[in-house]
Symmetry: C2
Subunit: 221 residues, 2 copies
Amino acid sequence: MKKNKVIVIYSGGMDSFTVLHKALQEGLEVFPLTFNYGQRHVKEIESARAVCETLKLDHQLVDISTIIPLLQGSSLTSDIDVPEGHYAEQSMQATVVPNRNMIMLSLAIAYAVSKGADTVYFGAHAGDHAIYPDCRPEFVEKMNEVAKIANYQAVKITTPYLNQDKSQILADGLKMGLDYSQSWTCYNGREKSCGKCGSCIERLEAFAKNSVIDPLAYEQH
Amino acid sequence: MKKNKVIVIYSGGMDSFTVLHKALQEGLEVFPLTFNYGQRHVKEIESARAVCETLKLDHQLVDISTIIPLLQGSSLTSDIDVPEGHYAEQSMQATVVPNRNMIMLSLAIAYAVSKGADTVYFGAHAGDHAIYPDCRPEFVEKMNEVAKIANYQAVKITTPYLNQDKSQILADGLKMGLDYSQSWTCYNGREKSCGKCGSCIERLEAFAKNSVIDPLAYEQH
């Protein structure tokens, strides 16, 4: 039987790593798509590449760092310091990249049309709803409306973890038997994870809630 | 009085050239944004640059040609021949770039958020409704829905010529006293316009309907 084709937006982080495997376990033909938009955490992209190589997936890596002049005001794409502390704090608004998910989804939808894929998998989750407007159910719903009619072929956006948080995503991944040493989360791209940035703190919380030790090495935590 | 800031998606073609001037005549502070996605008609981009220089506008040119692997199947971004003949013909579907306008609008909306602009001007028009799903009123309406909520700041998409055709856009521009020798339309980027591609034919029809001679030089028509 011919498998349905899907695009998975796959950053190399733990959420999209789980989404990727979920799509594979659903028996879909998966085309992982990774964007480099000049993030400081190139290690995340290296993880993505290594995972796709092991799984023998046709990995598409697209460098969109030329768009950075359009994305001012985020510490992830400019010289502002990456803030430390918990994600839910006000300071984390500095990590909001203008219109990030609309940009990534637009490109993923184009790729879906090119590949004859009918769906884009995307790892938006409840833990990001407070800070990121473009991770909320309302955003996904309205993007789905436009993705239906923007091309001759309708494309669906599927967000398997839209109403779950990071610890629930991890729980699902652990149930699938995933090895999270293959994912990367830290915003600072040093050899070991820093253990202090918002991203590390969230990741460590998710592992703690699942009573599991994170297999990644940390500078401190 | 402080002027409202707007982004104008400005390709260098006659439609967006008219939109640019319309926004200027409305007294807005205009930030023209031009995308290079590996089109064959680099001359269009050169026109855009020259016009912005003359008008002393802060022109943002963004090279997004690295996304071409995501956009297969269009003669504008691949090695397929540019079809000759009228735009409305079936063959012109080969000029459809997957998800083009969603991609350009997403990036323009990001730029609007960065610049503190509340509106994106975009030259979709009725002449393209038949062939391009992402030029239709329904698409613009649904993009506006998502642009309202995707960021902390709502962004509006304004399409002044959504229900007019190219000859009506030209009529408006001629009324504004615009010099259309400053715009470029031909899909083939040679010294003179080819006069045979769908784009040239549409342009020439618009001038004929306005009983005005196109100031551009043509190889034949």
